[in-house]
Amino acid sequence: MPAPSLSLSQRFSAVLARKIVALWPNDTKEWGRAFEAELPEITTPLDSVRWVLGGAILLAKESLRSFMKSLWRPLGVPASDASSSLPKGSGPRPRLPRVLAGIFLLASLAMFCLPEVRASLASSVLFSRMGVREYAHQGKIQKLLAEARTNHDPQLLAFLSLVLYYDADHFQLADKAIRRDPSLTWIDHSEAWWNSRDRDRRHFLSDERIERLQKFDPQNGALYLLTAEVISHPAKAAYFAGPYRSALNETASWELDVAKDPAWLAAMDRVFSAPEFHDYSAKQLALVRQVSERYRLSAADVTDALFAHFWDNGNIKAYCHFLTERGDEAAQNGKWAAAVQNYEKIEKFAEKWAKEEESGPWFAADFGSKVSPKLQAALEASGRSTEAQIAAAHSVRWNEIITARQLKMRQRAPFSWTGPVDAWHASGPNLWLRTEWAGLLINLAVLLILAALPLTIAALFSAGLAPSFSRRILGRFYRVVCWAADAAPTVLLCSFALLLVAYHPYASPLQNGASREDIVAAAMVTGTLPRPVGILVFNLLYMRSRYYFWLGLTAVLSVVVLVLLYRMASKRRIPNQNI
């Protein structure tokens, strides 16, 4: 009997069934063939179409099941090995399921996308005590400059004039800000930044600016100190140009010279007599907070804007010496009223200075603690015992402030306006501060990330995409690739998590209403400890000499490629060599 001719639909079903079996997952392909083998028995065209459609649904289910099962298979392990034990001698293989590797990598990527993680990475890698920090933020500052030219935001202009204090154009920015908002005139005071390492002691403010400041806030004695600084500058410049002399316990010669200048004495008298004495730190901090919130800036971006006017305490110290000597002379001659008048001038100035929010109390306590006992003695000698008791109470308070300052210094990050304090080399017992621990963890996390990221990529590529090639080329070292493929994604995820947790308290000090010290600590927390060697080398080579960096990197990669090529060639010459 001749075979019955197949209808079009039956032929179509047969073709479709073959396609379905071709797509069937390998681990259950037998069932696909079983399904296909029934098709010739189905004589009815409609039944054959139904049979094939059922097979298509089955294929979809099996494909999904196989895909889900493959997620739990390690990289580089084929499906045929998934359910059976590894044959003896098959060599090392990764063990971490690919789904976990994928989740770890995605979680790491998600954490990398967080702004605070990127900020801490950039700060840690690019921060350098060698002055390279500006490199990281230069792009952002330029963007802000462009925006300021467009929107003419006076606060942004004022902020930029503070950040770019080293730029000759920063006065233009300040003038633009003040023209738009005269209440920002105080920023000129922050512009008058003395660099204590600058032997020339250049004063950046012109007489016109000083006069403008004094008219803006005539109640503030700190503005008259600028006049005194200008007057004392020649004498001080000549003194510091000479050989080094320690003046810790003596009066420096320039102090004696300026004390003879009536103009200087008049300026300092206005400083000490003015109702207030402050350096606009609070206004500066408020400006920085407002701008950072408006333009989404981080602590590291704003640190340069937080430097207060480093006023020359030398003039204050010199005038205190002058008044103290006059008071001592009067006391020796029994002229108690004159002695009290001179001592009280210092005491009252110290009290005004102590009201200054940020560092006022600390500096004021230095002067107040020295003069309070003398004032007390002079008051007692002149029969003003009640006032003497008040002076005694002040003396106790000044000493308490000094003690509190010493304790507080131990609780703060070891930074310094004039340079970093290296905690590793501090003499004596040194308890680790919270910020130092945070800095250590951040540095550790960054190092682990820098090591784990390329290791993860290389290991996953070798073990996942080219396992047989890698096994052939690397030989017994393929075991290391397998270990890396297992460990590196986990290490990468844990490192990102560690970085996030360690840096998080310092990530948003501006939004949290932190003080100036907290903001600076947040910006510098990644640099509170000596830079990891790798990052130091990176900074030295990449930042200082990109030529040698790329030359070295090319040399290293060339050596690696040569070794791999040599192994490829040696394996080809011995094709039966067991790996």
């Binding site: 069932w31 029934e38 010739p40 094939v52 059922g54 089955l58 289910k61």
Partner: protein, 103 residues
């Protein structure tokens, strides 16, 4: 009897068909005709039974030229015992009626 298999009415129909001639090998399309199950429903049940070792399978010997050998199915001894228990339980709970008498 090992892991509990979800006993759907379709599974009970298939078990009933397999128990009809318990020692005989069955073809897939024949089971489909007996139970009324489409291929997309029949084969997943067969695969689950085979995974739990309640069903044994083999390929028939090549016979007709030009036709591929067909896959054959039969309950194992454990599978038969288990299937009978499930059928009794299903009848007792009245959740399933045999499609034909003499099961």
């Amino acid at each position: 009897m090992g892991l509990r298999l979800r006993i759907s009415p379709q599974t009970l129909s298939l078990l009933d068909a397999l128990l009809t001639h318990a020692m005989r090998w069955h073809h897939g399309y024949a089971l489909s005709q007996q139970t009324g199950l489409a291929s997309g429903t029949l084969y997943p049940i067969l695969m689950r039974l085979e995974k739990r070792k309640w069903l044994e399978t083999r390929w028939e010997d090549p016979g007709v030229a030009g036709r591929p050998p067909r896959h054959l199915y039969r309950l194992t001894s454990d599978g038969r015992e288990w299937a009978r228990e499930e059928m009794q339980d299903a009848r007792a709970r009245k959740v399933w009626k045999p499609a034909h008498a003499g099961a």
